[in-house]
Symmetry: C2
Subunit: 329 residues, 2 copies
């Protein structure tokens, strides 16, 4: 495995010249350049990023923190991040935290140890205080989920408004007994989506019934199924459910199917995220679409800007209510 010294020797020039050829910017006489390129080819030389990175004090790696890889919601975001990163010569380290602080810390260490230049955090469970401290020394962007007011730039959608629209849609098609299948309120998105739910109900003078609001520990089919079981056991059963995640909604649909309850006639269902699978269910799922790919590219661009020392501002992207069979027989 040749190094730059050997290339220099082979080409009969100094390492500086080889480096200049490598990086293209500086002027090198075309004859010299040719000699160097030949030497590179002959020796099958590939510049080591280890050396380059040390010298440049950068790793050109960005850390992506996600709670779990199992939620397809993250797919498109990751693709967006990856493409933007790649186009600017960054690679991405995908880190699944399982929403556990210990695992989070392992990954934070990678930044502290210069193995990664910055972080795009999508983990709603992230310890916000740790994140804030870290952000003082390192470049961090929040994507999708965020803690406001801590000075870390984020890109997201207006969850409150999206939720409001989803619930309003249910009300407008005639529902008044609407359940909310939420996740833990320690997550900002959970709080916001609840707020939107409450606002929509309030606007139509519908009282908020505590029993209609369920909390799931995690996002996953099973949790949606369980929550739906509880809803079905309610004495005054709701006629509609708004779930804060497609995964929950799909689990709910499954449970409704099993119970022989017709969707949307007996129970309407709305999800959130528009994951691919939400169009494969029977009936297909009404849901909120987020511009995930775009969110990813923007997050990556923001991080790169931040790393360049530029000022970056938070971004709120548009969302869209996608009406499908689960709310329109």
């Amino acid at each position: 495995m040749a190094n730059i010294q050997q290339v220099a020797k082979q080409a009969g020039v100094s390492v500086a010249t080889v480096s200049r050829v490598l990086n293209g910017q500086n002027k090198v006489a075309s004859k010299t350049k040719q000699k160097v390129e030949e030497a590179i080819k002959e020796l099958n030389y590939e510049p080591s990023m280890l050396g380059r990175n040390l010298r440049n004090s950068e790793s050109r790696i960005m850390l992506i923190l996600i709670p779990t890889i199992s939620n397809p919601f993250y797919f498109e975001i990751i693709k967006g991040i990856e493409n933007m990163a790649l186009s600017q010569n960054y690679s991405i380290l995908l880190c699944e935290t399982d929403s556990k602080p210990e695992k989070e810390d392992i990954y934070f260490d990678l930044v502290r140890k210069k193995m990664a230049d910055g972080i795009i955090s999508m983990d709603p469970a992230v310890n916000i205080e740790t994140l804030r401290e870290l952000a003082e020394k390192y470049a961090i962007i929040q994507c999708s989920e965020y803690g406001g007011g801590i000075g870390i730039p984020y890109v997201t959608i207006d969850s409150e408004e999206a939720s409001y629209r989803a619930v309003k849609h249910l009300i407008q098609i005639g529902h008044r007994k609407i359940a909310l299948m939420n996740s833990d309120e320690k997550f900002s998105y959970a709080r916001e989506r609840k707020a939107g739910y409450v606002r929509a109900l309030a606007e139509y003078g519908i009282p908020v019934i505590d029993d209609y609001i369920l909390y799931t520990q995690q996002l996953g089919f099973e949790y949606g199924q369980q929550a739906m079981k509880k809803i079905l056991a309610l004495p005054d059963r709701p006629t509609a459910v708004f779930a804060v995640s497609d995964l929950l909604a799909i689990g709910a649909l499954k449970e409704l199917n099993a119970a022989g309850i017709h969707v949307p006639n007996d129970m309407a269902v709305v999800g959130f995220d528009k994951i691919d699978f939400s169009n494969m269910t029977n009936p297909t799922l009404t849901t909120i679409a987020q511009p995930m790919y775009k969110m990813g590219t923007i997050a990556a661009q923001m991080l790169i800007d931040l790393l360049r020392g530029e000022q970056v501002d938070s971004v709120v992207l548009e969302h869209e209510l996608i009406i499908r069979e689960s709310t329109s027989g």
Copy 2:
């Protein structure tokens, strides 16, 4: 951001001593050790992996090549890899190739440039010749999908046998007109699964009908839907379908649903992979389960062994036919 020099100065020792304290192995007087540790704490020192990696000529990063992140089949494998990697102080760089050689090459470059120590390839589209060449100089493990006979260790299941069992199951419950929804035969798994299909039919004296074998360009719901449309248009319609991926099978189910064809009564369906979704469909999907998590941990361990210079042998893991509603009314 302190470096080892400053710690040494602060502690009144040499950098060698600090390094020894850092790495624990060498004997350092406990008094000295304490001084150093205090200095580390005072300066908030974190050793830079850039320096360490350059010196050690390793990056402690392993590359995971997957065709697309959108197939949940990879979830558990990735988790397995990640956990094993983490436990041995490796990080994983997740790389989506989209089965495009250009993208593949970008990632291969990371290995050539020492940004990654080795590769776990799960990409069936990977250029096998490139991979073989690369394997001469770098550590590579094939996971799930593999090219045999090129001397690169792999961990996988017996796809031919799994496919044989799936089709045999369909035959045993009474089907004789069985379609195969395959993907491109450039992939080894596609060839093997077809072979298993053919063997099962042959065993029962059922002729192979070319029209019953469909090829999809990719694995994805839409492709399953399209293929099912073609099957439904067949003059002598099959009564069962074996799809080589759950994604295809789920798309097929969707299409059957839309066409008002009852599963399994009018058409039985078998998938492959046992992704989470496969239990959420209506009806639930009969499928082949692979020990994905285990496959991941083994692949990671194999790569680490390879990096250590040890001899590693290929592994074939068990699979299991999971019979659910789509084949048992």
